[in-house]
Point group: C2
Chain length 343, copies 2
Amino acid sequence: MKAIFDPVQTQHDPQNFLVMGTKRSSPEQPERVTRLRAGAEAAGCTFEAPGDAGLGPIAAIHTPEYVAFLQTIHTRWQDLPGAAPEVIPNIHARARNDSYPTSPVGQAGYHQGDTACPIGAQTWSSAYASAQTAISGADAVADGARAVYSLSRPPGHHAYADMASGFCFLNNSAIAAERLRSKGLRPAILDVDVHHGNGTQDIFYARNDVLTVSIHADPTGFYPFFWGHASERGVGAGLGYNLNLALPMGSGDAAFLEALGAAQTRIADFGADVLVVALGLDAHESDPFKAMAVTADGFEQIGAALARPGLPVLFVQEGGYLSDDLGPNLTRVLGGYQGATSR
Amino acid sequence: MKAIFDPVQTQHDPQNFLVMGTKRSSPEQPERVTRLRAGAEAAGCTFEAPGDAGLGPIAAIHTPEYVAFLQTIHTRWQDLPGAAPEVIPNIHARARNDSYPTSPVGQAGYHQGDTACPIGAQTWSSAYASAQTAISGADAVADGARAVYSLSRPPGHHAYADMASGFCFLNNSAIAAERLRSKGLRPAILDVDVHHGNGTQDIFYARNDVLTVSIHADPTGFYPFFWGHASERGVGAGLGYNLNLALPMGSGDAAFLEALGAAQTRIADFGADVLVVALGLDAHESDPFKAMAVTADGFEQIGAALARPGLPVLFVQEGGYLSDDLGPNLTRVLGGYQGATSR
């Protein structure tokens, strides 16, 4: 399987963020890339560097205000007396149409939805490269590849059109889906990260040309709290084009695979001709988030199930954090997929 | 002049909050009360304790979800593993109609708009007493007092119907104005705090029965960033019933008094028969926020100007932080007012 990655993606190195009133170190570390790359190679992937499709495909999803913010905020923040090394917000807009602030502090609160997306000097360049990795994967699929793995990092599915959150800055899966759509395809996004894909949901919430489905831990007591409930079904033309399958905390293989079946039925009913898998690996039982208990065997079954409808698949890496199982779990997903397609 | 205060208001003792990525100590310290009380007494005020009008007048402004949050969150937060002693939010809703979270972390993000309103064990009882201090002041004015000083602390003007922010939890000035309105009066709120009265503005934004006017430092580069611009004039039935008079950073007496004249013209055109002054003292040149340069003489002139229309006035304390001038500046405002009424 073709795989795509750019070493620039490792330069972003988030340090602290505030959780429950306490500063902690970020689990979204560059080391993740080393583990994931090894896991993909163990499944037979051959990596190549992405091309540079420019800002166009990114700006097809993200607002120009937000792109300008990501490009310039770290430098402007450093000019503030007493500012910390990383940009972390401390005051937030109530509504998106509140007056748009010009100050760095105000803009941070407008464009960063939580404290888990600190912005450092290298964040923009890594996020841009991560998005290009997804775009190149989409282009390869559009050109006929049956499956591609885009090792996008930093991840993307919590990023909104105009807002970073939860370790995410540019929504790689959404950018890839829109790239596929712009080439005449009809994409569905299936998010299997343990956290709800709230940014992706929001980006396509009023649209009926990209289906969004997310399987995740019940957000009642889990990030992102405000989004991921079954009642969130889309709005306007998009009503009925978003499906949330929230599972109880601690759910294992059986519950996950049952939800996956429901997701694939919806994707078939949408008439998708290409699938973007927002591939988080943090539903695993040993992931530091400890929200679900999917096993390594479960991941292999997920991979196999994704192959069955016969759609071309673009795997875009989302979450999954440091444990000895991170790389091997990726091997199992991709191996399960390839095993099912070769049968 | 009658003055009102309850010692319970000093129990709230906020510690840290996050500013520009760094934890700092809160300037909204209980010591403020000692200075303000001395300043009011030096102007001839006699303090008495507020009555207890119950939750009704508070719930006339604040949502039941929010009241329940303030009453219970500190206890529920302490049950979270690893939670800091004070409730500080780390993830925020994008819109008020996002799914309402049940988790303490999610609710903190829904009901706390920034990191400057940490909630401790005594926050609810102090905020409740602070509101009762404002309500008793309103009742005294409704009963015929020409002027009353309510030493409300914690302050209130950054508190929304459903959200704390900027050291504020219950919007004392809004609660007092609504109390006056419920007794058949037609109140205007004039906010002279150096920060825009964003909570007060929002509470009455769609209403035409309470006029809101705020004089403050230009929010382009100053808290609360998202609100306080001249273009924010109200909405629906409230269009034209909100006036923001933003002054350049560093403005002094002349600019402030000119804005005050414009504010008073608008209040007269509204036909107000009672005035609630949201009395921040942080526009002073020695205030730690250093946003404006109003002098002690300026404060005396502000007090005198407030007396001129002959309306009954309820002064509700808002901001103003620790400096040797905090108490004396209150003396000058109240003294200026009383001097003008006795002439």
